[in-house]
């Protein structure tokens, strides 16, 4: 292949087409290779974000409950309404935790459905 341009000089099309088709072939091959690499990478990323999602769900649920309890405790300490604010806010925190997890799950579902443009993330129907 390397010699052909010199041997076929007289006819201008020959070397040009052969070298371009060779190039096209090489580009196609490289693309296929990178496609495989990309698939592998997206697989890794999916595995990775699967674990990330697990941590996200767990921590968002727990965090809302902790925040509710602490806020309630603080309000009780300030206003002397022990234990009512804490009870109410703990329950609200639980609800907020469920809401957080639902939001996160809605994000995940939107991603799985192929909606990559999250500028218009379909929030859950609340």
């Amino acid at each position: 292949m390397a010699k052909s341009p010199q041997s076929q000089r007289p006819e201008p099309e020959g070397p040009a087409t052969s070298s371009t088709s060779d190039l096209a072939e090489r580009i196609a091959r490289a693309k296929k290779g990178s496609g495989a690499a990309q698939a592998a990478q997206s697989f890794r990323q999916r595995e990775l974000t699967g674990m990330g999602r697990a941590f996200r769900f767990a921590s968002e649920f727990v965090a809302a409950i902790i925040v509710g309890a602490l806020l309630g405790y603080g309000i009780d300490a300030l206003l002397g309404t022990k234990p009512w604010a804490m009870i109410v806010l703990l329950l609200l925190g639980f609800a907020a935790g469920v809401l957080n997890v639902m939001r996160a799950a809605a994000d995940v579902n939107a991603e799985a459905a192929g909606g990559t443009d999250a500028g218009i993330v379909p929030e859950d129907d609340d």
């Binding site: 990775l48 941590f55 921590s59 965090a63 509710g68 957080n100 443009d117 999250a118 929030e123």
Partner: protein, 258 residues
């Protein structure tokens, strides 16, 4: 057993003190501004990231060499995360998000190296970063949308009486964000490093118990190797999760109504 103490690695050592505010002059009183091992590794992480980026892109080649390619790939990676989660308008926060991501990634990865201090294993660092994110979200949200930012707490299409219940829940859900953001990062790094150290400690303890112990210590040694690999994964993963959630929250600041 100082060598196998799993908590010892999180000790803060003061190298020197800049100034002491307040206090009565005796040791331990007042607020001390000190240069600690935590500060040292923060500076090392920032220095490594900044130095590498400046060094690798100094050629500004149209066709990047390998070093420049790493910089460009990390740029593309973070830029994609920002665009996907916060839209094109979120790109104005790209410098912030990129700094956050690279700092966390290098900080977490530093923690895996022997004798290195893990910055993110201290809750105050994670809380400071999470509060920085939330401050930016709130400030930018009010700056861009004015009082319309409060629509974040009032979902559309809900009848009035139910709002009395829904709005507090939404507010609580918003307040819980910095907590979940910081606790997740801190908890993962702390727990991972303690478990790693405990299993490594088993190797030392077992191998001091004669020939049977040395043979038996192969098991915790294998576990330590496996856990190191897991820690590597967690280090990258937690930096990534922190970044992606930052972008999601920034998206709320840009488009508050939902």
């Amino acid at each position: 057993m100082a060598g196998t103490d799993p908590i010892h690695q999180f000790n803060i050592n003061t190298f020197f003190t800049f100034a002491t505010l307040g206090g009565d002059g005796t040791k331990g009183s007042g607020v001390e501004f000190a240069f600690t091992n935590s500060a040292l590794f923060m500076i090392l992480a920032i220095g490594l990231v900044g130095g590498y980026l400046i060094f690798s892109t100094r050629g500004r080649g149209l066709v990047p060499n390998r070093l420049q390619l790493v910089s460009e790939l990390s740029y593309e990676f973070v830029a994609n995360v920002v665009r996907n989660s916060a839209g094109t308008e979120g790109m104005r926060f790209f410098p912030f998000v990129f700094t956050l991501f690279s700092f966390l990634l290098i900080g977490n990865l530093f923690g895996i190296m022997p004798y290195f201090f893990t910055i993110t294993s201290h809750v105050i660092i994670c809380v400071a970063l999470a509060l920085l994110v939330m401050t930016i979200v709130i400030a930018y949200g009010f700056m861009r949308n004015g009082l319309g930012f409060l629509k974040l707490f009032v979902p559309s299409g809900i009848p009035g009486p139910i709002l009395i219940i829904v709005v507090p829940i939404e507010i609580l859900s918003f307040i819980s964000r910095p907590l979940s953001l910081s606790l997740r990062l801190f908890g993962n790094m702390l727990a991972g490093h303690i478990v790693l150290k405990v299993f490594a400690g088993f190797v030392v303890m077992l191998s001091s118990a004669g020939i049977i112990g040395i043979v038996g210590s192969v098991l915790p040694l294998g576990m330590t190797v496996a856990l190191t690999a897991l820690e590597l994964l967690v280090a990258g993963l937690q930096a990534f999760v922190f970044t992606i959630l930052t972008c999601v929250y920034l998206n709320d600041a840009i488009h508050p109504g939902h």
